[in-house]
């Protein structure tokens, strides 16, 4: 019952917040619910390491079916953990971004968002999963439009329309699989496909193509990323952090589950068309790594730049999945972790820069290092991690990718990887360097005083920075847990 308790905790907190509508209670309750959920998910990590948790109510196909493998438990903990940091940072940051009256709504939406994302991960029945995918899309769009500005409305509308289009593609795929297998649960589909795949080859291939397209749209794989910069660029900074760090990943993880748990490695990796699909996913991912960075290079708004950087990072993840090897998948899952902590840090740091200086333009950030020393140092940590400098978790990711690439003999991707990290350096470093070593160009109208956020506002970002270094140096157990998780679904 553990996964259900976790989700219910978050839903209950959201419900109470929604009813009471008091800012202070909303903050405390949301954070308390997350702490409790995090503790429970840590317990779940330990439990699933021995044996998967399974809860079934009703009979196939229209039942209520939860199955938590180690990999799922890992994702749930990741979602809740990172979300806790984001909420913690929200306590001071969100007040500047949205109207006071909407603050309880924001916390309620965040709780619902995380609960539904966890649901997408732990549910086994596609009927359940699909409901939660849709619910999470709406909650995510809600965190964008909560700012109540015209551009947010536009971005939110674009986001939700394309997101629903993506969900529909996924639904098509699921329906096709249902017709072939008479089952809606992942395990059921897998069991059925192992006997009747040869009669339905084309249908399964079509289903996979639909699901791939849907996931690509929902998770912003280039060139279907068009909604992402608007949504992530205009949303309040903590929402951007959650959207970029967590929401995109849930659908990617669902895709991984469909690939390896529903269709299964034996079928997937022995069918030419499906291998071709995977290959295309890998190539598109590689193109996204470069294209996203080039777009990021052209931005003048810091949040849009970080948003485009997400397009590139999502490319990394799809590239890893597309390799169709264990090491590739491991790199992809590890990169989900890397990107979650790093991008959360970058968005939150950028948020506090914008909050303190009321400036989003990169070229006007010269000399900021002397005014916001700690914030800029934290931003530096995030940048170095994105570039892939050793000591930071980004390097571990880059390393696992390189190992995966050599293992899968796609040597040309090494060049893409190197070029991409160079491009990352090209757009992240100028911000840092201009801030610390450049001359200030805001000197004329800004007093040369410290613009630093109060320490309690910086604390969550500092913790994320420590996490980035700690996971890089002492992440051995995490790595082996992910390996174990992949072994359990392969």
């Amino acid at each position: 019952m553990l996964p259900i308790v976790i989700m219910l905790t978050l839903f209950a907190a959201a419900g109470v917040i929604f009813v009471i509508k008091v800012n202070v209670i909303a903050k405390r309750l949301a954070i308390a619910a997350h702490v409790l959920a995090l503790a429970l998910s840590a317990l779940m990590l330990a439990v699933t390491a021995d044996e998967p948790i399974s809860v079934i109510l009703g009979t196939e196909p229209w039942n209520f079916y939860v199955l938590v493998t180690p990999l799922d438990a890992f994702m749930v903990s990741l979602f809740i953990g990172v979300s806790l940091f984001i909420l913690w940072a929200s306590v001071t940051m969100i007040d500047h971004d949205i109207e006071q009256a909407r603050i309880p709504m924001y916390y309620a939406l965040m709780c619902v968002l995380i609960a539904t994302l966890c649901g997408v991960v732990v549910f086994e029945n596609f009927f359940n999963v699909f409901l939660l995918v849709e619910a999470s899309s709406f909650a995510a769009a809600g965190t964008v439009v909560i700012k109540n500005k015209p551009e947010n409305m536009r971005a939110g509308l674009k986001y939700i329309s394309l997101s629903i289009l993506g969900s529909s593609f996924i639904l098509m795929g699921i329906i096709i699989l249902y017709f072939i297998t008479d089952s809606l649960s992942i395990t059921g589909i897998y069991a059925s496909l192992s006997t009747n795949f040869t009669d339905n080859e084309d249908s399964v291939r079509n289903a996979l193509i639909f699901i791939t397209l849907g996931t690509a749209l929902k998770s912003a794989l280039f060139p279907l990323h068009i909604w992402l910069p608007d949504a992530h660029g205009t949303a309040p900074s903590p929402s951007s952090a959650a959207l970029s760090a967590l929401v995109l990943k849930a659908y990617i993880f669902l895709y991984v589950k469909i690939l390896y748990k529903a269709i299964g490695a034996e079928i997937l990796l022995n069918d030419e068309i499906m291998l071709l699909t995977l290959f295309l996913v890998m190539v598109t991912g590689a193109v996204a790594m470069i294209a996203g960075s080039i777009f990021a290079l052209m931005q003048s708004d810091i949040k849009r730049m970080i948003a485009y950087s997400s397009v590139a990072q999502i490319g990394y993840i799809f590239m890893g999945i597309g390799m169709g090897t264990r090491l590739g998948l491991f790199a992809a899952i590890f990169h989900i972790l890397t990107h979650a902590v790093t991008k959360a840090l970058l968005f939150l740091a950028a948020g506090s820069i914008i909050e303190q200086t009321h400036n989003r333009t990169i070229s006007k950030m010269g000399g900021l290092g002397s005014q916001m020393r700690i914030t800029m140092l934290l931003f530096t940590v995030g940048s170095l991690s994105m570039i892939g400098i050793p000591l930071f978790i980004g390097f571990n990711s880059k390393w696992f990718y390189a190992v995966g690439i050599i293992d899968s003999h796609n040597y040309w991707l090494l060049g893409v990887l190197a070029l991409s990290s160079l491009l990352n350096a090209a757009y992240y470093l100028p911000i840092v360097l201009r801030a610390f070593f450049g001359k200030s160009d805001t000197e004329d109208f800004l007093p040369r005083q410290s613009l630093e956020c109060p320490m309690r506002a910086l604390m969550p970002i500092i913790c994320l920075a420590f996490l980035i270094v700690a996971l890089a140096l002492l992440g051995g157990p995490v790595n082996s847990y992910i390996y174990m998780g992949i072994d359990s679904i392969w």
């Binding site: 571990n396 390189a402 190197a418 350096a425 470093l429 002492l474």
Partner: protein, 490 residues
């Protein structure tokens, strides 16, 4: 016991990070602090060199990604050279770096770079070397852009991009070795596993080429030396001296480690990569000399000269012959000392008189006798006139080339070395000749004594006398280097 090896690495890094807190705004306190840290650390480095061969591992994330600190003869060689040069440049910097408030950050990063350089010397596996290599790139950056002008910032970005690109190439080789080697710990004779490698041998020369050129970026190999002439003239002279004298030698260390301790002589010898690299290094030797000869800006001329001289070393290494290796390692020592002396005397001139073009230096020998005498001494040594150091090293490189497995290219190399020596004479002798013999029409009346303070002249005199002393008595050094080549089996 072996944990003591960490002290020379961590002490300066910690001391540098703590510098702004400890010294406040008091420059005298800063000088005492920096001097005591550097002296102490040079002591620790020499003491570490005195330990027997020992090492330890920490932070073991995987069998490849872990911190492996170890001391062996090669490490001792570079450890003593770097820490000695660093000590001398420290005192010079006290006289050179202006008291303008930015000096604190210069010296903070000065100390931290020192630690990173020590770490690179003491690294026992590929990851550790790569880690400290990247750290040097980042920590030395603030010294490059110390002036903070827009041109310096631009040059700094160029430096970073070239360095990251070089490191990315080396990383490709690193991943390759991790996949196809027994281990990534540095082992004399190489670590590649022929069984695992079966079928992929064709990649070996290519990967080796990547590693050589990648690490070669900081040793100014063609085509990656373009950042040198861009950034050195804008960096403070002590920083340029450290880059040319020490950091480039760390790149040489990395190349020696890659060539003899990772790939192994047997893999490289006779391969197309060896031929290609011989040609590339000779090309760089010639190109650097020509460019230096044409250059009118004093420190840019010295920068091009370093480009040429470092490729002497790389040429000596890639010949894979004990004589040439001996010459290369001797040239590491001599060029380290000579180029530091040259940059420091050029710095003394520019610092005191503001003159930075070579044609402005007429008659300067009368105004700054000590600096110019040291410059003359170092120049003569770099041209390679016996009994100075430059002669001994170049002689061995040339004879090694002829005795190597590429005798024809060796002959060509000897010819190129000779031409380059003539060019070296052309671009250095004219400077000191004009400085001491400005011609009949020159009026000495305008000259005032512009000699720098003791802090700057004493290190210069020590360096200049070392070039002569080591050139006359290289016996112990030669014996030590021959010991290393016996270990690595060439």
């Amino acid at each position: 016991m072996s944990f003591w090896l960490l002290i020379p690495i961590l002490l300066p890094i910690a001391a540098g990070a703590a510098l702004p807190l400890v010294v406040g705004d008091n420059r005298d306190r800063l000088q005492v602090y920096v001097a005591s840290v550097v002296i102490l650390n040079t002591g620790f480095a020499v003491a570490a060199a005195g330990l027997g061969d020992t090492g330890f591992r920490a932070l073991e994330l995987t069998s490849v990604i872990n911190l492996h600190i170890r001391i062996d003869d090669l490490a001792r060689f570079f450890l003593v050279l770097s820490s000695g040069l660093w000590l001398l440049v420290t005192f010079y910097s006290f006289g050179y770096i202006k008291r303008d408030g930015r000096d604190k950050s210069f010296f903070a990063f000065f100390l931290m770079s020192y630690g990173a350089v020590m770490g690179a010397c003491l690294s026992g596996n590929f990851f550790t070397l790569y880690l400290f290599y990247e750290l040097i790139t980042l920590l030395a950056y603030p010294m490059v852009v110390h002036s903070g002008t827009p041109e310096a910032m631009k040059a700094g970005v160029k430096y970073l991009m070239y360095s990251f690109f070089g490191a990315a190439l080396a990383l490709v080789a690193f991943v390759f070795v991790a996949n196809y080697g027994f281990t990534t710990d540095f082992t004399p004779g190489g670590v590649l596993d022929p069984v695992a490698l079966a079928g992929n041998e064709g990649f070996l020369p290519f990967v080796f080429l990547l590693a050589f050129i990648g690490f070669g970026c900081k040793a100014y190999i063609w085509p990656l030396f373009d950042w040198v002439p861009a950034s050195y003239p804008l960096a403070p002279h002590p920083a340029a001296a450290l880059f040319s004298g020490v950091v480039s030698k760390i790149a040489v260390l990395a190349i020696v480690r890659t060539t003899f301790y990772v790939f192994g002589v047997d893999v490289v010898i006779g391969s197309w990569a060896q031929t290609a690299l011989i040609v590339i290094t000779l090309l760089t030797v010639f190109m650097g000399s020509m460019l230096a000869y044409k250059e009118k800006l004093f420190s840019k001329r010295l920068a091009y000269s370093s480009v040429s001289q470092l490729s002497y070393v790389l040429f000596g290494i890639i010949l894979l012959n004990p004589l040439a290796f001996l010459g290369a390692m001797l040239h590491v020592v001599f060029h380290g000392i000579i180029k530091t002396a040259l940059f420091l005397s050029a710095g003394a001139v520019t610092h005191k008189t503001g003159k930075s073009y070579v044609y402005e230096l007429r008659g300067i020998g009368k105004a700054m006798p000590v600096a110019m005498w040291c410059f003359t001494m170092a120049s003569v040594a770099l041209v390679g006139i016996p009994p100075t150091g430059g002669f001994v090293s170049k002689w061995h490189i040339a004879t090694g080339g002829i005795a190597s497995n590429h005798p024809t290219l060796g002959m060509v190399g000897a010819a190129v070395l000779l031409v380059s020596a003539l060019l070296t004479a052309g671009y250095l002798v004219t400077i000191f000749a004009d400085a001491f013999f400005p011609g009949a029409g020159f009026s000495y009346k305008k000259l005032v004594n512009a000699e720098s303070g003791k802090l700057m002249t004493v290190p210069l005199v020590i360096l200049a006398s070392l070039t002569l002393l080591l050139g006359m008595f290289p016996g112990a050094l030669i014996e030590f280097i021959n010991g290393i080549s016996a270990i690595i089996g060439i």
